[in-house]
């Protein structure tokens, strides 16, 4: 089998990449999806709040997905469901497996990585005690409740205030469960403000910041948990313990990009995002292999996933037609400093770049009334005031080609947070 572009993952990123690649003139495109349907994580996100930027209306996850799926079908883009990609190779051979074709391989000219992310496993949590039944990751609970129609419990405590946990607090409350508390280790929430208000405040569910679960009770099934406050070093403070009876503990402690495949071909990774390092065309260190969506860095808004993925699709189409054309020495590095934890992309090529490039990043704490400062070889070229920045909300800033071309010898860009 031969295709110009093989897209791994049929979530919003893969769909938008496929659509854009086709519209940019690529013909032979194949999307590979391991699930039995397209749409990715959106299929289990039945709540509304998707697509405000893209469609100017608030859609639910499945509705947002369906608009892109319809487009992909209309454009005649090929896809295979129930198909798991097992390996990729440096020469861009993709090895996949499904029950009708067995193991098969595809020669691709370009690959787009769009595998999304998975939840942090609970093994990475240091909670003492047994591992009784009744402990679920929030995403698993979401799938069970929303897709299988199976309620995971009646009395619930949630550890972690990531968006999935918040959404599930509301969902389980509506389904008749009593959600007793959400404990968050950090002094700020990991989820969007809107979700705190509409999923917790609306239902009187307490959010306990700087708190963690220190004990889980029950042998066969969870019977209760103990929550305690933590100090600035995240150590539980003696005497602050509070017991909650519950049959379910949901863990919403973060997502990590799913990059086993990317690592196989030695793609250079960003240790902060756990996603590939990419240039402004969203191309990884492996030429012709692009990445977008949650596999690149975890997004909270699907609109940005679609936007980013469209860029990857367009650039993959261009790569197939014209090859790379990039010279490494033209690259300017982009680095986050002083509160900016990472940037995507991490290099930009002023020669090849479009009129502007959107740089997305996250900050490491909550900042009020600060400035985002962009410096080109030490000289400030952009300064923007931000009334508030928080780790849970992705930031972005646009770099304009014209500005970068003014200084053809420049080697580095830094993005930092500054006062006054």
């Amino acid at each position: 089998m031969k295709y110009d572009i093989v897209i791994i993952g049929g979530g919003p990123a893969g769909l938008a990449a496929g659509k854009a690649a086709k519209q940019a003139g690529a013909d032979s495109i194949l999307i590979l999806e391991r699930d039995h349907e397209l749409g990715g994580i959106l299929n289990q996100c039945i709540h509304n709040g998707f697509g405000l930027h893209t469609f100017k209306e608030e859609l639910t996850g499945p509705e947002y997905a369906e608009r892109f799926i319809d487009k992909v079908c209309e454009l005649g883009i090929e896809y295979k469901l129930n198909t798991m990609v097992m390996h990729i190779e440096k020469n861009k051979r993709v090895v996949a497996m499904n029950s009708s074709d067995g193991m098969f391989s595809i020669e691709a000219k370009s690959i787009i990585l769009a595998m999304g992310c998975r939840e942090r496993p609970r093994g990475s949590l240091n909670i003492a005690g047994y591992r009784p039944a009744g402990i679920f990751s929030a995403g698993t609970a979401q799938r069970l409740v929303n897709i299988e129609g199976f309620m995971t419990g009646r009395e619930v405590v949630i550890l972690g205030s990531g968006d999935i946990g918040l959404i599930m607090a509301r969902r389980m409350t509506l389904e008749g469960a009593k959600v007793k508390a959400v404990a968050e280790l950090m002094p700020y929430s990991g989820g969007l403000k809107r979700n705190i208000v509409q999923c917790l405040d609306d239902y009187g569910i307490p959010l306990k910041l700087s708190h963690t679960v220190v004990d889980i009770r029950g042998k066969e099934r969870v019977t209760g948990v103990t929550i305690a406050e933590v100090d600035e070093n995240f150590k539980p403070i003696a005497g602050t313990e509070e017991d909650f009876d519950c049959d379910t503990l949901l863990l919403s402690v973060g997502l990590i990009p799913e990059n086993e495949l990317s690592k196989e071909i030695g793609i250079e990774m960003n240790p902060v995002t756990n996603g590939p390092l990419v240039n402004d065309r969203l191309e990884t260190s492996c030429e012709g292999v692009f990445a977008c969506g949650n596999v690149l860095h975890v997004h909270d808004l699907v609109d940005y996933v679609s936007e980013e993925a469209a860029l990857a699709g367009k650039n993959a189409a261009r790569y197939v037609k014209k090859g790379s054309g990039a010279k490494a020495e033209q690259n300017i590095t982009i680095e986050g400093k002083n509160g900016v934890r990472y940037t995507v992309p991490s290099t930009v090529n002023p020669e090849l770049m479009e009129d502007f490039v959107t740089v997305r990043f996250r900050v490491g704490g909550v900042y009020k009334d600060r400035y985002i400062s962009v410096k080109l070889d030490g000289e400030e070229i952009i300064r923007r005031k931000r009334p508030v920045m928080a780790p849970s909300e992705m930031e972005d800033i646009k770099l304009h080609k014209a500005k970068l071309c003014e200084k053809p010898e420049a080697k580095s860009i830094t993005i930092s947070i500054e006062e006054g």
């Binding site: 039945i46 369906e66 129609g149 509409q198």
Partner: protein, 121 residues
Amino acid sequence: MKKRTLTCISCPLGCQVTAEINKGEIVSVTGNTCKRGDVYARKELTNPTRIVTSTVEVIGGESSRLPVKTRTDIPKSMIFDCILALKGLKVKAPLKVGDVVLENVCGTGVDIIATKTIKTF
């Protein structure tokens, strides 16, 4: 005079907005950084509404649950009644996005509609 404090969600700033209420009338709104906070607080305190989403059982479909939503927002106080009205509801595949699953839920004048296309098995 009663005071109510809420978090404005109209932008990521999330101002703590305080409204003073006298005999059910909002006499002042403070703490908001911009006009939207005022509008948000008044709406939230006098006529709070939400879009409600849930799932219902599907018969003969390629999946067993259909995600649904209220077509537009309904009064916040009606959320639980609305969810209750969906309990035990069964719909037959095939279904398309936008198909009405239940008309005029709990007399709100708002229909419950399908948010996913489900083919027959």
